[in-house]
Each structure stands twice: as structure tokens, then as C-alpha cells.
Amino acid sequence: MPPASEPGKQQVELTVNGIPATVLVYPMERLLDVLRHELALTGAKEGCGEGECGSCCVLVDGQLVNSCLIPVAQANGASITTIEGLVQEQRLHPLQEAFLTCNGAQCGICTPGMILAAVHLLDKHPQPTLDEIREGLSGNLCRCTGYSQIFEAVQQAAGKSEPK
């Protein structure tokens, strides 16, 4: 249990990967730091700290955000999905499976953010064109792959996913 109060800190209520969590934090702390340090969810990574690289991407109420740009107070009451929340009953999400088979992850540091961006993309466009994939992932930088195998992974996962 977090202590009831500490000067300057506030209680923030989050639902993270379906599980309610209450954290006692400074309201302007970055959501990224709260996830990593308070909740030990280290899947979201810091690459640039200014919203350019997307490696800290998470879903907040279904929207793709750079968690390095969000003060945690702004996420109060929100439902958050991180990379750790995609595995269901030990089974990989189709996108995780596809990244694995297509070699969409090389060094892996951009992968959690990239996969969440792809989840968001397939939510909006279940059968995306290549241009839609390019645009949907353009906020997530990858220095290893040249993106081709990431595009393939998204296409593969889209092919497998049930049409809505």
C-alpha cells in the first residue's frame, strides 16, 4: 500500500492492462516514469524524451501516445495498455507472433512501441494498405530494420486477424 500522503504527491488511479492500480506520485511525473518505476512495467522505453522516437508508446483509452510527453495526472482514471498487456493466457498477440516470424524486431528497443503503434493502426484499419502502414508507424523510429520486415509483420498479422 502506498503511504496516504507525501508533500506534493497525489493519488492517481489507473487501469493498467486491465488491472486497477493506485499510485502516489508527483502529478507532473511522466507517465513513462510511473509505468517503469512505480509499476515495474519496463516494456516502454525512453529513446528521446521528446516524443520523436515512439519507443515509449502506450495506449491510453485506446489512443496511441508517447508516454514521455504525458504527465501522469492527465492519465488519471484512464485505461492503459502496455506491451506487457498484449499476451493473453500465455498466447502472443497476432502482431507479436508476426514480428517474431518476420524478423520485425532486431535490437528490440523500438519493438514494444512499434507493436503498440501497429495495434492502434489495425484497430483503425484492419486491412491497411502499405501507405496506411507507413503512415501509421511514422511516429515510431527503428534504426535496425529499414522498416520493411516491420511492414511485412503488420501485413501478416492483418491477414490473420478476423475482419470486424
Binding site: 519496463t42 524486431a105 535490437c107 528490440g108 523500438c110 523510429l141 530494420t145 516491420i150 511492414f151
Partner: protein, 751 residues
């Protein structure tokens, strides 16, 4: 001959599941009890003498651990080649961002503010910021003449050659600094205690480089220094030498604090303070016969090494040896030098000097073609190296390489000829100009010359308690696929399922020194050692009578368990031995520079927007011969990623310098290619087979960095009819080039 089952198959990446689920542990994901955060106070001046360090009295300094050069128990240097770079500046600073003082505190937010509360008084010294200033030696900032290293290659003789030449073709070419831009910044966690000495966990390529550097800084024997590689979020050479610095810093703080210390750079610090690709200038003067054949020439290379020698000598070496490209030079003189400037030291970056000199060579080939009046295709075909010919270091080409055939295949794949014709018509009007460009090149695998012999790498393969097998190497995984291909090799050698083989986390307390993870050496050199160590393990089992020549995987496991119950631990090691007949003269820079070369022909199709001067690469064909492709998907990924990085090198990535300091040290203003910026990168392999390396694999990682920039700039010239000699080539440079060309054609008309 038995068929390969696992080599050449697209098995899953060993650590892939951890990476796609977010479970992979990078250094910043590691937290130790009582851990402090560390930060660095850096020089704001490019060159000067430190007069006084002020600590703002408003800060409660007793809360902080403060480390200066005086706290270093051993030598104040980062041991590498010349050991000229201090771990912490003591008396003088030689570049902006040079580390001077270290701070640690439990609260990292407070810590970052406190870095600003340390101010340093200097007596400024005159500084040098460019190759040209350094060459003029008006100010001596390093050694006696600012020269970090020189090389001279002489083949044949240039006597009389200029008279015999039908054409003398000259050119001068420039490449800029480039940031590796791994998405994970440099970082390290360190502990220190009297019994175990120093332990560091970090993001790094070369555990034993860090190990060697820490032994020197702490004056500790090898068993009291331990280096562990965490999952590493990209490296590209940028984590070859710099991790030794940050490891020493974190460990010095940990020693003084008597607590674990984590030091993670943020992006601005990483960009400003750590290494970049060496800026370069290459001059060609080439004697060419009427038919376009090269008779001989002079190549002069200069690289900006920054303030300390670090790896400049080896980067320059590779650049020098690759300067002649995949062509036959009957006579050539190559002079090269790396000089010092007061910028942070430039360092290792994928390609390691070769992208710079190959940019010059491949631009120059197009220039020769123009002067002679033949096509870019023809000029290359007339000069390609063929089996039996010698390279500039007089290495005989023994591989059965056919570059004519590769070029033809690349031309067909890219529809080069038909597109070139079509674009020539289309370019007469409209808002865009299109063009096609070629680059042909080679990349030597492994350390140069006698390098591998000096490294004398050691590799182990051990049986685990459950009878499966584990590979023991210090070779690091940072995306390229080290874990996967080395496990494939061991599994194939032992005829075991891929799942029966794992690889140890690189940890100097448990893995032998298989050398640094650099120079496209892992698959070829280390892979070969894994192969022989695995064979050794099998022979031990057969020799002791617990296994027969033909076995099932289960029989193998039982044999391992059997053997271990009788004899205890079961490990097999293999040490590098140079192949026979290898000759290399380090003084004359002559002989077998590399055990094997990878060969490639790349073709770029570009369009230039005449309104915005934006260049887009519309199609890219990358055809290469890299020996046996161990894993088609990983190989393709390596090539595509390298091409993407090289497109950045050519068109986007510009380090803006002011007085030796990077001004645009943010991802917002140092731009790398996004998913919107890249063409379809079409990757093709030739497999001609090779005598060296595990299952015939050669190096692959660096090759794709060499060719795209010249192919693209050649294509831009094809589109615009204007020659560009310098990269990065930004829209403003294109605009300037076009208006300069318009001015001079106007001047011609008026005259």
C-alpha cells in the same frame, strides 16, 4: 555430403520472444537495491586549461557523491590503442563535452539540476575545428603535428603513367559526420566491493574492451573486473569504444559511494558527447586509357579523428584499404591520414572508414565514365577485379567472383536500362527529375591483416545438466542476430534441433574472449570457432564411448548426461588459428588484408522535386555475395537496415557543428529516415560459396552501409545533370548546386 537442416533456415530469433513481449532486459530496466543515479559534468569549452571548479553553495553537497580525476585508483585513461584519452579531464580539456567531474545522488531529477550547479573556470586555448585547420598546423593540438595516423599503400609505379594516359581525371569528395542513432542511449550500472572488485552491466558491443579499460582505471587484476552485456538496443559501432568510458565513470561513482550506481545518458547528452562517423575528404587523380581502363592513380584520404586517437588508426586503415573499390589498379599510390580537431573523438560506425572512401571511389567512377564518354555500366565492367587479379594491397582474388554478372543481374532487377531511357524522355519537362545510379563495392570481413591473429579469439561450447548445449562467446547480440546464427551453427554441427542449443549472456566471468563484436567478424570468424568447438564436444563424447558416430538428439543428450555424471563439467574450446599461407606486411601495408570480401552491386532510383528540392529514393536494389546466407530473414533484415541507415547518411543526417560542438543534438533536428521516407529496399543474394567461415559464411553487417550513398548521388546526377561531391546532400545543397549550374551555363552563353 549431408544436407544442411538448420543453416539457411529461418529459425526464430533466440531472444525474439522476450523482445516482442517487452520482457527483454536492457540496462535501464535494471534496478539494484540502494542504487544511486550518476551524471557527468562536462566541458563547455573546446580547448582550455581548467583553472577552478566552483560548487554552488546553495546545493547541499553532502547529499552527493562527487568524483574527480583525483579519485581514480589506477591510470587516468581509457585503454584502447594509444591510451591518450583521459577517463576524466584533469588539467586540460580538448573538446566540448569532455567529462570532468561525476556526481551521484538517489534522486535523478535533483541530480540533473545539480549538474548545472557546478561551474568551471578555464583559461581558453586556441582550438582547431576542421581538417584543413588541423593540416595547416597553425595550432598544434595533438602530438607534434596534429597527425593521429598515416598509411601509405604503393602498388606498381606511377612513373610515366600520366604521359601514357588518354585522360587524367581528378575529383575531390567529402562525407560528413554521422550519428549511429541507436534508439537505446548509452548506459551502465556498476557496483564495487573490496572482494569482487568492479562489476558493470551495460549496453555494449565488446565486453572484453570494457574489461581491459576497467582493469587500467582501477588497477585491478582481471578476475576482479566483471563485465556483463545487457540486451543492447542498437549499437552500429557506437557501443564499441564509448561504453568503456561510461563504465569507468559509473564504477568510479560506485566505488566512492559504496553503493550501486546507474548512469543512463539522455538523448541530448548521448548525441553531444559520444562518437560519430569520421568526417572525410578523399581526392582522386586517375590516369585513364582511351577505352576507360584505369592505368593508375593517386588517392589521398584525410579523416577528422576528433580530439583523441581512440580508434581513428583502424578506421583509417579500413578506409585506406577499401579506397580502390572492387577495381583493378595496376598502379596506385594511396596516402591517408587521420588528424586531430577539438571535437569529441569520432569513432566506430558500421562500415568503419569504408563508406567514406567508397563514396569517393564510386562517385569518381561516374566522373571517369563522363570524361571518357562511356556509360557508368561500361566503365565499371572494364575495371572490375576478376579472379587472379590483385587488389591495391596486392591481395590475389581467389574467390570465383564475377562482378560483370552481378552487375548485369542488378541492372535487370532494377530495369536500369529501360528506366534510364524513359527518365531521359520524361526529364525534359515536369516538376520532377528522375535518375538511376549504380554503386559497386566490396567489404572485407574480419579484422585487417594480422588483426585476427593478435585477437586470438577463444570460443566455448558446453553441455548443460539437461544434456542440451550452450554456446560460450563474448560476441554480443544487438539486433544483428548473433545469438541466432551462432546457435544455428552449433545445432547444425551437432545435428541437434535448434531448440537444443542456447547461448550464454556475455559475462566476462563465464564466457571466454571471442573478440569484439565488430568488423563483420562474428558469423565468419566466431562462427567458425563455434563450429570447431562443437565438433570438439562431439569428439569428446564419441572418444569416451558414450556416443556413436550416428545418433539421435535424445541419444546425444543422454551421452552428455552420462559423460557429466562420470567426469563432471563438459566443455570444449576452440582458439583461432590463421589459415595457412596468409601473408600480411604491416609496415608496407601489403598482402592479404582480409580472409574474405563480400561483394555488392546496388542500384538506386531517385526523383528530385524541382519545387522543394526534396530527393526521394523510389526504388532500391541491393544485390550482394556474402558467401553462405546462414539465415535468410536475418540477412535480409541486416541489409535492409544498413541500406536505410546509408540513405540517411546520403540525404538526411547532418551534424551541425559550432566550435566543435554538435548543435542539433536532438531527434527533432537530427533527422533519420522514418517509415515514410524509405523506398522498397529489394534485397538479393548470390551464393558463390567460400573457403572460409562456418558453412561458408562471410561478413554481412557493414557491407550495406558502403554502397547506397554513392548510388543515390550518382542517380541524382543522372536526374539533374549536376554533379555533387559532398554528403549529406540536403535540399538546400541541391538548390544551391542547381542555381550554381544555371549561373555558369548563363555565363557560358553570355561569353
Amino acid at each position: 555430403m549431408t544436407e544442411n537442416l538448420i543453416i539457411g533456415a529461418a529459425v526464430p530469433r533466440k531472444e525474439g520472444r522476450d523482445k516482442v513481449t517487452g520482457r527483454a532486459r536492457y540496462v535501464d530496466d535494471l534496478t539494484l537495491p540502494g542504487m544511486l543515479h550518476g551524471a557527468t559534468v562536462r566541458s563547455k569549452l573546446p580547448r582550455g586549461r581548467i583553472r577552478k571548479i566552483h560548487f554552488d553553495p546553495a546545493i547541499q553537497w553532502d547529499e552527493y557523491v562527487v568524483v574527480t580525476a583525483k579519485d581514480i585508483p589506477g591510470r587516468n585513461c581509457i585503454a584502447l590503442i594509444l591510451d591518450d584519452q583521459p577517463c576524466l579531464a584533469d588539467d586540460v580539456v580538448n573538446h566540448a563535452e569532455e567529462p570532468i567531474l561525476l556526481l551521484a545522488h538517489p534522486d535523478r531529477h535533483k541530480l540533473w539540476k545539480t549538474v548545472q550547479a557546478v561551474s568551471i573556470e578555464y583559461d581558453a586555448l586556441p582550438a582547431v575545428f576542421s581538417l584543413e585547420e588541423s593540416e595547416k598546423q597553425t595550432e598544434i593540438i595533438w602530438g607534434s603535428d596534429n597527425t593521429l595516423k598515416t598509411f601509405l599503400i604503393e602498388k606498381g609505379s606511377l612513373d610515366g603513367i600520366w604521359k601514357r594516359a588518354e585522360h587524367i581525371v581528378e575529383g575531390e569528395y567529402f562525407t560528413g559526420a554521422q550519428e549511429q542513432l541507436y534508439i537505446e542511449n548509452n548506459g551502465m550500472v556498476a557496483t564495487f566491493d573490496e572482494t569482487h572488485g568492479v562489476t558493470v552491466w551495460g549496453s555494449l558491443q565488446c565486453p572484453y574492451y570494457v574489461h581491459k579499460a576497467l582493469m587500467a582505471v582501477f588497477a585491478l587484476p582481471e578476475e576482479r573486473v566483471r563485465v556483463v552485456q545487457m540486451e543492447t538496443g542498437g549499437a552500429f559501432g557506437g557501443k564499441e569504444e564509448y561504453p568503456s568510458m561510461i563504465a569507468a565513470h559509473a564504477a568510479l561513482l560506485a566505488m566512492k559511494a559504496k553503493r550501486p550506481v546507474k548512469m543512463i545518458y539522455d538523448r541530448m547528452e548521448d548525441l553531444a558527447a559520444t562518437t560519430k562517423r569520421h568526417p572525410s575528404r578523399t581526392r582522386h587523380r586517375t590516369a585513364v586509357a582511351a577505352d576507360g581502363k584505369i592505368l593508375g592513380g593517386e588517392i589521398e584520404i584525410a579523416m577528422d579523428g576528433g580530439a583523441y586517437a581512440t580508434l581513428s588508426s583502424v578506421v583509417l586503415s579500413r578506409g585506406t584499404i577499401h579506397a580502390g573499390g572492387p577495381y583493378h589498379w595496376p598502379n596506385v599510390t594511396i596516402r591517408s591520414k587521420a588528424v586531430a580537431t577539438n571535437a569529441p573523438p569520432h569513432g566506430a560506425f558500421r562500415g568503419f572508414g569504408a563508406p567514406q572512401t567508397l563514396f569517393a571511389m564510386e562517385r569518381h567512377m561516374d566522373r571517369i565514365a563522363q570524361v571518357v564518354g562511356i556509360s557508368p555500366v561500361e566503365v565499371r565492367k572494364r575495371n572490375f577485379l576478376k579472379p587472379g587479379m590483385t587488389t591495391t594491397t596486392e591481395q590475389i582474388i581467389r574467390e570465383n567472383i564475377d562482378l560483370d554478372c552481378m552487375l548485369d543481374r542488378a541492372l535487370a532487377l532494377s530495369e536500369y536500362q529501360s528506366k534510364k531511357k524513359l527518365f531521359a524522355q520524361q526529364n525534359a519537362s515536369g516538376s520532377h527529375r528522375k535518375g538511376m545510379g549504380i554503386a559497386a563495392f566490396l567489404h572485407g570481413a574480419g579484422f585487417t591483416g594480422s588483426g585476427e591473429r593478435y585477437l586470438s579469439s577463444l570460443v566455448g561450447v558446453e553441455a548443460l545438466a539437461d544434456g542440451t548445449v550452450r554456446v560460450l562467446v563474448s560476441s554480443a547480440e544487438f539486433g544483428q542476430g548473433t545469438n541466432t546464427v551462432l546457435c544455428q551453427i552449433a545445432a547444425e554441427t551437432l545435428r541437434l534441433p535448434y531448440e537444443f542449443v542456447t547461448i550464454a549472456q556475455p559475462d566476462t566471468s563465464t564466457v571466454p574472449n571471442s573478440g569484439p563484436t565488430v568488423a563483420s567478424r562474428t558469423a565468419m570468424i566466431v562462427g567458425n570457432l563455434v563450429h570447431s568447438a562443437a565438433l570438439g564436444l562431439k569428439q569428446t563424447l564419441i572418444g569416451s564411448g558414450v556416443l556413436t558416430e550416428s545418433y539421435t538428439p535424445e541419444e546425444f543428450r543422454n551421452a552428455c548426461r552420462n559423460h557429466m555424471s562420470k567426469h563432471g563439467e563438459l566443455k570444449s574450446y576452440s582458439r583461432y588459428e590463421a589459415p595457412p599461407g596468409i601473408f600480411w606486411d604491416d609496415q608496407k601495408y601489403r598482402g592479404e588484408a582480409y580472409a574474405a570480401f563480400a561483394w555488392a552491386v546496388y542500384i538506386a532510383q531517385v526523383s528530385v522535386d524541382l519545387t522543394s528540392f526534396n530527393v526521394t529514393v523510389d526504388d532500391f536494389v541491393a544485390l550482394q555475395e556474402v558467401g553462405k546466407v546462414l539465415h535468410p530473414r536475418l540477412a535480409e533484415g541486416q541489409i535492409a537496415g544498413g541500406v536505410a541507415q546509408a540513405i540517411g547518411f546520403a540525404l538526411y543526417e547532418k551534424v551541425v557543428w559550432q566550435d566543435g560542438r554538435m548543435l542539433n543534438n536532438q531527434m527533432t533536428n537530427y533527422l533519420m529516415p522514418t517509415s515514410m521516407d524509405l523506398p522498397p529496399i529489394r534485397v538479393f543474394f548470390e551464393e558463390l560459396g567460400n573457403v572460409h567461415g562456418a558453412y561458408g559464411a562471410k561478413g554481412i553487417g557493414e557491407l550495406p552501409m558502403d554502397g547506397p550513398a554513392p548510388a543515390i548521388v550518382n542517380a541524382i546526377e543522372d536526374a539533374l545533370g549536376v554533379s555533387f561531391r559532398s554528403i549529406p546532400l540536403l535540399p538546400e545543397d541541391i538548390q544551391a548546386g542547381l542555381s550554381e549550374a544555371a549561373d555558369s551555363s548563363l555565363a557560358v552563353k553570355q561569353a
